[in-house]
Each structure stands twice: as structure tokens, then as C-alpha cells.
């Protein structure tokens, strides 16, 4: 009898009644815990009060979101009303028809939003996503080590090479970090190198692309061995434990490296220019509504709320996020200021990656080319020619299908 009671108790405890009543808006975002705290404490309550609703927010990693949404839409049970997503992972959402077409609401986007940001959500002629958070990679460097070897943060490719050489000569191992783990972190980084060399990344074998790979091959011996394991998460660790003395990463790393780990000697600046120009790929997040979302009206209001001046100012002062609006400004913490300046500086030379349906294939090809040329040490030109051909085939295949 006792056992049965325990069992019943457990079942009740497990099933737990889900309280219903107010309008519920279900939100999916991929944030750090710190960012969640600001969202939950400072931002969501404002919206809940204004619209008399309750926000249920879920953490989903950007890379998992496509699959989860795909499963939801294919089962016709969409339990999310609005989501934020990395702007480099939008193509499959559109290609697989998982999001609502928001073209009809474009005129609701506040006019104060930086015009180029609006473009991020546009695919061909339709708008599927609204901007709310621009982002750009900054270059972190270990000031203590740079001072020790009497070096300055490199501003050109040549200087970068020199710095790399100096470290290797002095310590016997490479100390430059490049994200070579694969996937989109690697691509984001090489994409901006190619653009700054005047190349067209989708071409693979034009002069700019070739120059970039020649440079990367020269740089490769001076990279830290941990580069092969570096993506956006591990880069923070390697910067903090001084395996990297210099590496690019997204600004969220500041909170981990400086605030959490207390590594005050890690500074940041906007980065270097290539042979042709300075270029920094703009990343960040946009907001979208899943196809078949139940609470579309409220979701749309929520999107506009996040774009509002009020919210943007909270985000910049509490988290140091770059602004999506030109008319907003906020007071950020003093320690965070130099990093924020680096972000602003880098954004000035920001380049937007085009929204193409074949981005996934491009990402895969570029990754493979990088692995084969750098890690497997294959000849540059034959490999690039091969991927040029592959890319062209894919582009044609997509164009004939649409």
C-alpha cells in the first residue's frame, strides 16, 4: 500500500498540472545564462505588463533550432510563437518553408533601424525575419604577452604573420588562434579574409580566394595546435588559458574571459585589414515566427517590442550588445567600454553575407577546402578549382529548381 501511495505521489509530481489562464507567448532564444537573466528580469516583465500575457521562454542552441522547428512543422504541432536565430542559419528555415512570410509587416519596422540590418531578413523579394541584434567578431589579444615581446596588435596581414613568427620563435609553439574546428565558425572567419583580399567567396578560385589561401598556408605553422579544436566556445577557453595570444571571436567572450575568469590582460580591438580592404562579417540574430504559430499577433508585437528604443537601451547598458537602432544609446559598464568600442569599430567595416539558399553547400565546400589545404596540406589551385566547379553545379541546380 505504501508503495502504491508513493507511486501515485510520484505520478502526480511528474505530470504536474500546467497552469493556464493568461495569453501565453512562447519564445525560443539561444542565450547565455547572463543574457537570460537580463531578459527575464528587465525585459520580459515590461512586455507582460503591457500586453497582459505570460512569456514562456526556452533556451535552444542556434544549431539545434532548424531540426527542432522542422520536426514541429512536419508534425503540424508548432509550440513556439517567436524565435531568435543566428543570421547565418536562416537559409534552411526559408528553404524548408518553416517560417512565416513577414513581408506584409515590413513597414512596421521602425525607421530608425540601420537600413542594412533590415536586408538580413530578406530572401529574394520576401522578408522573413526582423533584425534585433547585430554582432561582429572582435580580435582578442593577450596584452601581457604582447608587451613581454614588445609587440603591437597587428593591423595588416603582414603584421599578423610577423607577430605569429615572433611568438613561435620565442616559445617553440604557435600562439595565434584560428577557428579551424569546422562548421560555420570557420567559414565566418575565412569569408571575411576572402572579402578583405578582394575575392568573391562563392567563386573559390578567383585571385582574392587564392591570395587568401596562400596567406593562410603561410600562417598555418604559426597557429596554436588548439586551432583545430577552436570554434566560438573553445576559443574563449584557449584565450583564457593562454594557448592563444591572439584570436578573433564574438563579443560574448568578454563576459567569460574577463568577467568570469578574471583575465583582465585580455584586451580587444577591431582587427586587421586585408590587402584590399578591411572587412568584418556581420553576424547577430534576427527574429522570426514559425509557420503555423498559434499566437502570431502577439509574436509580432513582441518582435517590435524587442526592436524598440527602450529595450535596445536596456540591452546595450546591461549586456553591451551593439545597437540595432541609430537613435538609441545607453550607459555601459566601465570595464566593458573598450570592448564595446572594438565592436563599434569593427561594425563600421561590416560586410553582410548574402542570403542565398545554397549557403549550406557553400559552407560545406569552404570547410572542406580549408581542411584539405591547411590540415592535409594539399595544393591550393587544384583544390580550389574543384570546389569552384562543385559550387557552380550547386548554384545551377538551385536556380533551375526555383
Amino acid at each position: 500500500m505504501k508503495r502504491i501511495i508513493t507511486l501515485l505521489f510520484l505520478l502526480v509530481f511528474i505530470c504536474g498540472c500546467r497552469s493556464v489562464g493568461k495569453d501565453v507567448l512562447r519564445v525560443v532564444m539561444g542565450l547565455t545564462e547572463e543574457e537570460w537573466q537580463v531578459m527575464r528580469q528587465d525585459i520580459f516583465p515590461l512586455f507582460e505588463k503591457e500586453h497582459d500575457c505570460r512569456i514562456k521562454a526556452y533556451q535552444v542552441e542556434a544549431q539545434d533550432w532548424v531540426r527542432k522547428l522542422e520536426a514541429m512543422v512536419s508534425a503540424n504541432k508548432v509550440t513556439v510563437d517567436v524565435f531568435s536565430q543566428d543570421n547565418m542559419r536562416l537559409y534552411p528555415l526559408v528553404a524548408k518553408k518553416l517560417v512565416e512570410d513577414l513581408t506584409a509587416y515590413v513597414d512596421k519596422i521602425p525607421s530608425q533601424i540601420t537600413p542594412s540590418m533590415k536586408e538580413v531578413g530578406v530572401f529574394r523579394t520576401r522578408t522573413y525575419f526582423f533584425p534585433y541584434r547585430p554582432n561582429v567578431q572582435i580580435t582578442y589579444y593577450n596584452q601581457k604577452k604582447f608587451n613581454e615581446y614588445n609587440l603591437k596588435p597587428p593591423k595588416t596581414w603582414d603584421e599578423l604573420l610577423k607577430v605569429g613568427k615572433r611568438f613561435k620563435e620565442a616559445e617553440g609553439v604557435g600562439r595565434l588562434g584560428l577557428k579551424l574546428w569546422g562548421g560555420s565558425p570557420t567559414v565566418a572567419q575565412v569569408y571575411e579574409l576572402i572579402v578583405s583580399a578582394g575575392g568573391e567567396p562563392f567563386e573559390f578560385n578567383d585571385q582574392g580566394c587564392i591570395d587568401t589561401f596562400v596567406f593562410l598556408k603561410k600562417l598555418y605553422p604559426y597557429l596554436s595546435v588548439d586551432s583545430k579544436k577552436a570554434k566560438w566556445d573553445t576559443t574563449n577557453t584557449y584565450l583564457a588559458n593562454e594557448s592563444f595570444y591572439l584570436a578573433q571571436n564574438w563579443p560574448f567572450g568578454v563576459n567569460i574571459i574577463v568577467k568570469e575568469y578574471g583575465k583582465n590582460e585580455i584586451k580587444a580591438y577591431s582587427g586587421w585589414r586585408g590587402p584590399k580592404r578591411e572587412a568584418h562579417t556581420v553576424g547577430g540574430e534576427v527574429l522570426g515566427i514559425p509557420k503555423g504559430a498559434k499566437n502570431k499577433e502577439l509574436a509580432l508585437k513582441f518582435i517590435l517590442f524587442l526592436e524598440s528604443r527602450e529595450v535596445q537601451e536596456i540591452l546595450v547598458s546591461k549586456l553591451g550588445w551593439p545597437l540595432v537602432r541609430q537613435d538609441a544609446y545607453g550607459q555601459i559598464a566601465e570595464w566593458q567600454e573598450p570592448y564595446f568600442e572594438a565592436v563599434e569599430e569593427a561594425l563600421k567595416e561590416g560586410v553582410y553575407r548574402p542570403n542565398v539558399l545554397y549557403w549550406g553547400d557553400f559552407e560545406k565546400f569552404l570547410n572542406e577546402a580549408i581542411m584539405r589545404i591547411l590540415v592535409n596540406q594539399e595544393e591550393i589551385k587544384p583544390v580550389l578549382n574543384q570546389y569552384h566547379q562543385k559550387m557552380q553545379d550547386v548554384i545551377i541546380a538551385y536556380e533551375t529548381r526555383c
Binding site: 514541429m72 509550440t79 574563449n236 594557448s243 575568469y261
Partner: protein, 274 residues
């Protein structure tokens, strides 16, 4: 001369033993150590082996924060439900199998055994889609049902082994006395095999507690504890990873120890895991 050789042999043996033991303990020690060390001590080119700069910060942060409650409740609930389901399906089935003719039982057991060999990365996606159709995504019961895939074979092996040890004469005697098979099962077999059943139950619980792959596919709102650790790994938070890792490991290690005497080959054969 011979004694000398004996001595050397002993030293070599002892050295090998020390090596193995430290290899076993070292990673766990490092995990606990990192969870109570200051960042400055760990995040350097030359981390120290001893805890020089003790700090309770990471533990305080984890235990006082809201973040751990959800995952902890979810992990506890899912592990408990999947244990109940496993026993519900497993006990009757195992009893049935142990009473089939040897050949059939053998085939059944091998078949179950094979199910746990399939690559999880291969089954997880179709299951995720199916669960959505049934509206089971992100529910405790849904995840528990998926965990049963992984848990059931082990439980069955343990249970079949248990039921086989019960003398068949006892059951036959009862049947001659007029009891039905059902009554025999309830009155004689089950009470006699409580030991094996509880071992199976605890193993089922454990295997769900530390499951990762299915959780990755089937959780949306609330992660389980292993997923939470993965979240911290992907965010590059060494200290929170270490703290959570310690938290999830403690009950498991305690249970494993208390079950030590049951960790006989018969049970563990099915429990071999990767």
C-alpha cells in the same frame, strides 16, 4: 638471488598498480578540483595540481541560482518514469522469456540484446519526428519512453537471470496444488526475486539519469542535467561544467557502490555500455 628477483617483481607490480589507480582517480580529482578552484589558478599555461586558491564561488553560484532546479527535477522525474515503464514491460517479459523453451528464450534474449547495439545517432531523429506527431516532445513521459530503448535490454538481462535462479520445482509444486500461472507469478516468483528486481530498477534509473543523445533530440524547454553540462561545455564555461559534472556524478557513484555486490558478471554482461 631469487628473493631479489621476487622483490623487483613486486616493485614493478606495485608501480603498475599505482599507475592504474592514479589513472582512474586523476580525472575525477581534477573535476572536483576545478569546481572549487579560482579561475586564475586553472586558466593558465601551467595549472596547479593542488587546490591552492580554494573558492566556493562556483558551487554557490550553481546551488543558489535558479538554473539547476529545472534540469534537476526533470532528470529525477524522467529517470523515475523510465524506471517504472521499464519494470512494467520488463518484469512480465523477462518472466515469460525465462519460462519459454530454451531455444526460444535464447532467441528472444539475443533479439533484445541486439536492439541496444543499434547506433543511437541513427534512431534518435526518426523518434523525434514520431514523438512530435504524438505530442510527446519535451514531455517527461516522452523522454522517458525514449530512454526505455536504452534501458530495457539491460533490465531484461538482469531480470531473466534473476527469474532463472528461482527453482522451477517451487512453481511446479504450486501449480500442482491448483494455482494458476498468474497466481504463481504473483505469490511465489515476484517475492522471491525482489533482489534482482531492485537491481534492475536501480540500473534502469541510472541509465536514464546519465543519458545524453536522446535527450539532445527530445528536449526543447527544459534540459536534463547531462544536457545542461553539454550546454556549459559548448559555452566554454569550465567551472560550471565541472560543478555540474560533480553534482550529476555524486548520486551515481553512491548508488554504484551500494550495488557493488550485485555487480556480478551475469548482470553486467548486459550492462556493458559505451
Amino acid at each position: 638471488m631469487k628473493r631479489h628477483k621476487e622483490k623487483i617483481k613486486r616493485i614493478v607490480l606495485a608501480l603498475a598498480l599505482v599507475l592504474v589507480i592514479s589513472w582512474v582517480i586523476f580525472p575525477l580529482y581534477i573535476m572536483v578540483k576545478i569546481s572549487v578552484s579560482s579561475p586564475q589558478e586553472v586558466m593558465t599555461q601551467h595549472p596547479s595540481f593542488l587546490i591552492k586558491d580554494f573558492t566556493p564561488d562556483h558551487w554557490q553560484k550553481v546551488l543558489s541560482g535558479q538554473a539547476i532546479r529545472g534540469p534537476l527535477t526533470k532528470s529525477l522525474a524522467v529517470a523515475t518514469i523510465s524506471m517504472i515503464i521499464t519494470l512494467g514491460i520488463g518484469i512480465p517479459a523477462a518472466y515469460g522469456i525465462s519460462h519459454l523453451p530454451k531455444r526460444w528464450g535464447y532467441l528472444a534474449l539475443i533479439a533484445i540484446f541486439f536492439t541496444r547495439m543499434f547506433p543511437e545517432v541513427g534512431i534518435a531523429l526518426p523518434i523525434a519526428i514520431k514523438f512530435l506527431e504524438w505530442n510527446l516532445l519535451d514531455t517527461n513521459i516522452g523522454l522517458a519512453l525514449a530512454h526505455v530503448i536504452r534501458v530495457l535490454p539491460i533490465a531484461c538481462w538482469i531480470l531473466v537471470g534473476t527469474f532463472q535462479t528461482i527453482p522451477r520445482e517451487l512453481e511446479e509444486q504450486a501449480q500442482i496444488d491448483g494455482a494458476t500461472k498468474k497466481v504463481v507469478l504473483q505469490r511465489i516468483v515476484l517475492p522471491l526475486s525482489m533482489g534482482g528486481i531492485s537491481v534492475a530498477a536501480i540500473f534502469s534509473w541510472l541509465f536514464s539519469w546519465d543519458e545524453f543523445t536522446y535527450a539532445l533530440y527530445l528536449c526543447l524547454a527544459q534540459p536534463t542535467l547531462p544536457l545542461k553540462i553539454y550546454y556549459y561545455i559548448t559555452r566554454g564555461s569550465w567551472f560550471l561544467t565541472a560543478t555540474y559534472a560533480t553534482i550529476i556524478t555524486i548520486p551515481v557513484v553512491i548508488i554504484t557502490y551500494s550495488l557493488q555486490r550485485f555487480l556480478k558478471a551475469g548482470y553486467t554482461a548486459g550492462a556493458l555500455k559505451g
